[in-house]
């Protein structure tokens, strides 16, 4: 690549994003060359990627494999939080969406909307964190875009990522596949991400050591599918994994309600099987929040035929991201799609859809 016609390198210490960084001229090219390209470089990049073209040409999938695509925009505030930042979150969030479909995540596209005046030092941190998260997850960032909006029209930085993955020929997972009698498993404690964000909100900041659980879950998913393939792959409707979901915004409660509606079933939960870290429980308590509705970014929910629940649980617990997995309930027949919970107290209650906005801008 020939040397470009600028002289001074980007001032990553004191510099700020200005409108020229999104204008398509030299400044933008410089931003890509000096900041994005090095951070996103990947050992696996082929000649068709990273040439500076308008798009990336991807290699063909293996015979019978199908392409899975998922997209997610990230607007979290604050941008940096215990356990991650908007960059790592943007990678994990989309990798997980692809993984929940049962696919092997391969590529990401990245779109930035930057606000004029945003510190280049912060941008560099975010971009480096994205690159590191992508490399750790084994996915390539293959194409991207940057736009800059005037000061006051954005909140520092917004990031959109789109993920592409490969789904094996006969595998099929869907929120519509849950059947009465199925078991519901959860990979660990709930509410960590949402409360980590809340603990750093300017208006609320409280002392806590709550860390976001933000993590890429595709390896856990691979281990689970290795142990218990999807029902479609088993060829036996009474066996196999039905679906995977990551309970992000709206928390576990919202995800369960979605599944109940999609599958035309009801759900019975056991509160005693749910795990909430003491710090998270305490923070929820004094903010008046219910951890069932608080976001997670590194947890997954699995529904499988009850015959395979023990084997699936074992596979989850064998992986570090699923070490605290439990069976949290079962799928039942219910034309009204109620999610109900047996409380630890000994009573019963509905676990309804989230109404309104419990916590804004958490992912």
């Amino acid at each position: 690549m020939s040397r470009r016609a600028y002289v001074r390198p980007l001032d990553l210490k004191h510099g700020c994003v200005d409108l020229s960084h999104g204008a398509g001229g030299r400044a933008m090219q410089q931003l890509i060359d000096e900041l994005f390209a090095p951070a996103f470089s990947s050992a696996g990049t082929s000649d068709d990627i990273g040439r500076g073209d308008d798009g990336a040409v991807l290699p063909p999938l293996a015979a019978g494999e199908r392409m899975v695509i998922a997209t997610d925009s990230h607007v979290v505030s604050p941008l940096f939080f215990p356990g991650g930042d908007i960059g790592s979150l943007a990678v994990h969030g989309t990798v997980n969406d692809v993984a929940m479909m049962g696919a092997r995540p391969l590529y990401l596209s990245v779109g930035f909307i930057l606000e004029e005046g945003f510190a280049l030092a912060d941008l560099a941190r975010i971009v480096a964190s994205m690159g590191a998260a992508a490399r750790a997850a084994g996915v390539c960032i293959v194409t991207g875009d940057t736009k800059v909006v005037e000061q006051g029209n954005g909140d520092g930085v917004f990031v959109n990522t789109t993920g592409f993955g490969a789904l094996p020929a006969t595998r099929s997972l869907s929120g519509a596949y849950a059947r009465p009698g199925d078991s519901i498993l959860l990979s660990g404690s709930i509410g960590d991400h949402g409360m980590a964000i809340m603990s750093k909100r300017e208006s609320l900041a409280f002392d806590s050591e709550i860390e976001s659980d933000s993590a890429a879950l595709h390896e856990l998913v691979a281990a689970m599918l290795e142990a218990v393939p999807s029902s479609a792959e088993c060829g036996d409707p009474d066996r196999g994994l039905r679906l995977l979901r990551d309970p992000t915004r709206g928390g576990l409660a919202s995800t369960l309600n979605e599944i109940a509606l999609q599958s035309d079933v009801g759900i019975q939960l056991q509160e005693s099987a749910l795990s909430v870290k003491p710090q998270v429980a305490a923070a929820c308590e004094f903010l008046g929040l219910d951890p069932l509705y608080v976001a997670n970014e590194g947890k997954l929910l699995a529904v499988c035929a009850s015959a395979d629940a023990a084997r699936l649980l074992q596979a989850m617990r064998a992986h570090p991201l699923g070490a605290e997995a439990t069976v949290i309930g079962e799928v039942v027949e219910d034309a009204q799609h109620f999610v109900q919970m047996h409380t630890r107290f000994g009573g019963r209650r509905n676990v309804d859809w989230l109404s309104g906005e419990q916590l804004p801008r958490i992912c």
Partner: protein, 376 residues
């Protein structure tokens, strides 16, 4: 979680449930009103009613601060934000309460009103102090629990000479509401609302003490048990009420001794009486105009009174015709008796105030208890 889990212990709940079942006479009916929304919420969230025998029934009371806020008061707050262009600070639930003409504070915010959710009165004061060019109005609502913090910020505003901070005072008084319910036709004459006793407020009582309820116990012959907001507190209080009824006693008992005494928080009371005085009359949603049931800002603090500064006239606005919030707040009807319940009125789209806050009888039932009315 220490000091919380102990009050949510399922095994203790089972023991209390057994005691209530053993002591409640199957030949008679026990109807107890939990005054506070905090109790309503605990009962619904933990499924307390599943642990009660059929002869013991709980009636939701009016003690949910946003539920009793009449439309006219929300309209005033909206006018302040949209017409007078102030920065209006309000507690979270208040934002969703339906006002006139399909408005709410949340909708007013979307139309450009500078409306902020705050967790405390002190946050509103801090905003006014940090941004002196902004006129900040704190929309002060709630019972005796939230009143002392409002009194404190008014005192601070005066000390600091803060001219850009104002309070729209809508604080109401618990004993007046209890009195109104006990004086209502349904309870006194018609007997359509059988109330055999009250679970008395938790947090309110930490401020006012247990003494104010003694009048109700004596005058109206109704037992009162002050209880904390944890589910075991509620169970214990129900057992104590059953015992009072069985023994023909009408006393004020205190289950919540870890926080409440007979006199309450005297310092808080002193601050409140320095800053506020009784209003002659105040409209409550569901209870109508109730004499001496609310507070207004004393003339010594007139400069910080949004109602005076902006000459806000109060205009009462009738609830939606089919909305039963009024009857529900008085314990006359259950949420499911309302035609709007779970049809056009849901937590996402509340028509009436009881559907707004998680402490409201309708919202609590919708969110936690709907499976009980399952279509067979």
């Amino acid at each position: 979680m220490k000091y919380v889990d102990e009050y949510r212990d399922g095994s203790v709940a089972t023991q209390l449930a057994a005691a209530i079942a053993a002591e409640a006479d199957p030949q008679r009916r026990y109807a107890f009103m939990e005054f506070c929304g905090g109790h309503t919420h605990a009962i619904s969230r933990y499924g307390v009613s599943d642990l009660l025998p059929p002869q013991v029934r709980m009636i939701h009371g009016p003690g949910c601060p946003v539920c009793v806020l009449p439309i006219g008061r929300i309209d005033q707050a909206i006018r302040l934000a949209l017409e007078h262009k102030v920065t209006l600070c309000a507690y979270g639930d208040t934002l969703r309460v339906p006002a006139s003409a399909g408005m709410s504070l949340l909708k007013a915010k979307a139309r450009g009103g500078d409306i902020r959710m705050v967790y405390s009165a002190a946050d509103a004061l801090a905003l006014a102090r940090d941004e002196p060019t902004r006129e900040v109005v704190f929309f002060a609502i709630g019972f005796e629990t939230t009143t002392p913090p409002t009194a404190l910020v008014l005192r601070q505003a005066r000390q600091l000479g803060l001219r850009n901070f104002l309070v729209l005072c809508c604080h109401v008084l618990t004993p007046s509401a209890i009195g109104t319910i006990l004086e209502s036709q349904e309870v006194r004459q018609l007997g359509t609302v059988p109330i055999d006793g009250f679970i008395g407020p938790a947090h309110v009582s930490t401020v006012i003490g247990s003494r104010p309820y003694e009048f109700f116990a004596e005058e109206y012959r109704k037992p009162v048990v002050i209880a904390g907001f944890e589910p075991l507190d509620v169970m214990q209080a129900i057992l104590m009420l059953v015992r009072q009824v069985n023994e023909g006693r009408c006393e004020v008992e205190n289950e919540f001794t870890r926080a409440v005494n007979r006199d309450g928080n005297l310092k808080a009371q002193q601050h409140v009486s320095e800053v506020f005085e009784l209003r002659k009359s105040f409209e409550w949603r569901g209870l109508g105009m109730v004499p001496y049931s609310a507070l207004k800002i004393r003339s010594a603090y007139a400069e910080w009174d949004a109602e005076r500064r902006y000459a806000l006239n109060y205009q009462g606005v009738a609830d939606h015709k089919a909305c039963e919030c009024g009857a529900i707040l008085r314990g006359v009807k259950k949420p499911t008796d309302c035609k709007l319940f779970a049809t056009v009125c849901t937590p996402d789209n509340p028509m009436g105030s009881c559907m707004v806050s998680s402490e409201g009888g309708c919202a609590a039932h919708y969110t936690y208890g709907r499976f009980r009315e399952r279509v067979a």
